[in-house]
């Protein structure tokens, strides 16, 4: 008979290499979901031990103790204690430690031991520790702690062999022995006593070299320099955005021509009529025009994941703490806000690392102003249609420069909004503490980064396949029905439902220079910002025939004035054009009111920005 699934849980301090161990154990056999009732990400993976035991492993949020001072840490505590609703009590808890930095993990382990769960201490990154001359007496450590200890090198092939073997040995011995849980929240003096005990054990079992990691010290001398560090940070961000714009181009061209050929194939194969129009204009050109942006999304996540794995993100928070503090933001808000450049949803979810409620709320409110990857399709389309691709000052691409300007405007507006919130809405403001470990630098591992990118690309494609696909079908329907009467000379779309809605909204949007086609595209754009591009394609493709679908940009260049294009860019910096972001804000703040506030303030800013942009541009002769 087959043994039942063995349940493991990974617990460890932040930066202990928990996630790379998780990736090493499970590869791509991962399932990402949410814990019931809360929005903490629940990562579960599966693997098989050498003896053939099926294992499920859950990667719990990093924590320094079981006190549970944030929703993330509460999950970890409840899961380990077997109190998490709908969760199975883990058979074995794997306590993951960075071998170069055992103090905090040993203290956590001593606390974990009181829960009475079977446990293994995993000394991860053991190779780095050895290279630095840190010598751990593993046997003695196991004896002192009364917990099995195993070393691992998560990033090396076969680096987890010992752990797998030990898992088999322990799971064979797992008896139905009663587990005494004597854990309760530690008092300050108990906490201090446990840290003393941990320090004593480390002094007995670990010999530390006299010198710290020289590489980290050397890099930090530049990267954390009060002035130099900020210049480095600005350079990194600048390179990131130039790269996203320039490097992704070849792959995007390739995807685009692929979808074009597919559309032509359908056009040539099927007889003229509704089915042909649906497949070519609705499905292929609609979904295709969104999937084309996959290379850019992969690139931006590549940068974020690399910086995170390298250990730079915590440094960025350090550098930005006081500068963001001036705008009423916490240094820890930097990471959620930077993630919001990829997508506001993970960014807003990442605000959980901010303990203070007011700091967290402010961060959530401004996160959607960070230019998310879904705006890239809109920006790219308009920039490539209206901004010439020439170099300025000899080396900077003008299109990239405009892109950089749009990002900067988003950031500056976010800081300004935060400042206003701090000034008017939240009085008696006492800054919450900023306390963050600055981990030693580590070379990012390709496999771990690849798995991270793969997971996110899958999410994007899934969205393209579901939400965006159904929106595309809806807008194709709106744009195609009712059909024009026989003998009509105007474009077919002029008779459609879409045109009626667009024309009804057009007077409201006329002062900012939007025509009814834009008004039509903005409606499905609420589902996801990038859908607006596809919707514009559909609206103009159906109006202008097959040629138009191939070159949305060229069509726009002939149909829109420069002032309209600039106004559209300004609109997209601010507009609350994403239903899923609003849904996440409601969930994370637990309040419809804050969602409403976000929607309203962004809409007002968008309208105002577009109004100013359009009128200034017209006055300067771009109308």
């Amino acid at each position: 008979m087959e043994a039942p699934l063995l349940h493991l849980a990974l617990v460890g301090t932040p930066n202990s290499g928990k996630t790379s161990l998780f990736n090493a154990l499970t590869g791509s056999r991962q399932k990402v979901a949410n814990y019931p009732g809360v929005t903490v990400e629940r990562k579960e993976g599966f693997f098989v031990t050498p003896l053939g035991r099926q294992v499920s492993v859950v990667d719990l949020p990093g924590t320094y103790s079981l006190r549970g001072r944030s929703p993330d840490e509460e999950i970890t505590r409840d899961f380990v204690l077997g109190k998490a609703s709908g969760e199975i009590v883990p058979d074995i808890v794997l306590c993951v430690a960075d071998s170069t930095n055992l103090r905090l993990t040993i203290r956590l382990l001593l606390e974990l031991k009181r829960t009475g769960r079977p446990m293994i201490l995993v000394l991860n990154m053991f190779d780095i520790a050895s290279r630095r001359g840190i010598d751990v007496d593993v046997e003695r450590l196991a004896k002192e702690l009364d917990v099995p200890v195993v070393t691992s090198i998560a990033v090396r092939k076969g680096g987890t062999a010992d752990l797998l073997k030990l898992t088999d040995e322990i799971s064979a011995k797992l008896a139905a022995e009663p587990q005494d849980n004597s854990w309760r929240a530690l008092t300050v003096s108990e906490l201090r006593a446990t840290q003393r005990e941990a320090d004593r054990i480390i002094a007995d079992c670990v010999s530390l070299p006299a010198r710290p990691d020289t590489w980290t010290a050397r890099i930090d001398a530049v990267v954390l320099h009060p002035v130099g560090g900020l210049i480095v940070l600005a350079l990194i961000l600048f390179v990131m955005f130039q790269a996203v714009f320039a490097w992704a181009q070849p792959a995007m061209e390739l995807l685009k021509s692929g979808f074009d050929s597919l559309g032509e194939l359908v056009h040539a194969t099927l007889p003229d009529g509704l089915l042909q129009s649906f497949l070519q204009n609705g499905v292929i050109s609609g979904v295709g025009s969104v999937i084309v942006f996959l290379p850019q999304i992969i690139l931006i996540f590549l940068f974020i994941l690399l910086l995170e794995d390298f250990g730079y993100m915590a440094r960025a928070a350090f550098l930005m703490d006081r500068i963001m503090g001036g705008a009423g933001l916490h240094g820890r808000a930097f990471i959620p806000l930077l993630s919001s450049f990829a997508c506001a949803i993970p960014g807003i979810m990442a605000t959980r690392v901010i303990d203070d409620k007011r700091d967290r709320l402010t961060t959530i409110l401004i996160a959607p102003l960070m230019t998310c990857s879904a705006r890239i399709p809109v920006y790219t389309l308009i920039i490539s249609a209206f901004i010439p691709a020439k170099d300025v000052w000899g080396f900077v691409n003008l299109q990239g420069l405009v892109m950089f300007g749009l990002y900067t405007t988003g950031i500056v507006s976010a800081l300004a909004v935060s400042f206003v919130i701090k000034f008017f809405m939240i009085r008696d403001y006492a800054p919450a503490p900023f306390m963050l470990e600055l981990p030693d630098y580590k070379l990012p591992r390709l496999k771990s980064v690849a798995i991270g990118i793969f997971t996110r690309a899958k999410m994007f494609l899934y969205r393209a396949g579901t939400t965006i696909f159904s929106m595309m079908v809806l807008i194709w329907f709106l744009a195609s029905f009712p059909q024009p009467p026989a003998g009509a000379t105007e474009p077919a779309i002029d008779f459609s439902l879409a045109a009626m809605i667009g024309k009804a909204l057009a007077p409201l949007l006329a002062p900012v220079g939007f025509n009814w086609q834009i008004a039509v595209a903005l409606i499905p754009g609420m589902a996801a910002r990038e859908v607006a591009v596809a919707a514009l394609g559909t609206v103009y493709a159906i109006e202008g025939g097959k040629e138009a679908a191939e070159q949305i940009g060229q069509v726009l260049a002939t149909k829109w004035s420069l002032a309209t294009a600039l106004s559209m860019l300004a609109w997209y910096i601010f507009a609350p054009q994403c239903a899923s972001t609003l849904a996440v804000i409601r969930r994370e703040t637990g309040s419809w009111a804050w969602m409403g506030v976000t929607f309203a303030y962004m809409l007002v800013l968008a309208y105002a920005a577009s109004l100013v942009t359009y009128n200034v541009a017209v006055a300067l002769g771009a109308g």
Binding site: R196, F434, L438
Partner: protein, 91 residues
């Protein structure tokens, strides 16, 4: 503010300059003026390794108001604001 009559060399880490090295004498969470409660601040400091006897060195400081500071605590580096570092009494 800080009582300097009996132990002249004792001072809060929050007042120390870049390059300062010392040993933690005790924690005085009450006097720090942090937004956190005394117990919470003390617990967090201990969890990050700020316990009596730990060697500390200020490695880096921020641009605005020389804040926050990056502190080497034994063999790890922790970023804290000076306000919270006032709770760490060193000598």
């Amino acid at each position: 503010m800080t009582d300097t009559t009996d132990t002249r060399s004792h001072m809060p880490l929050g007042l120390a300059q870049r390059g300062y090295t010392g040993v933690i004498q005790h924690l005085a969470a009450k006097e720090a003026g942090s937004a956190l409660s005394e117990v919470e601040l003390e617990s967090r400091l201990i969890e990050l390794g700020f316990v009596e006897g730990a060697r500390v060195e200020i490695l880096h400081e921020g641009l605005v108001g020389r804040d926050p500071i990056a502190v080497r605590v034994d063999n790890i580096t922790i970023a804290v604001r000076r306000r919270e570092a006032m709770a760490i009494i060193v000598a």
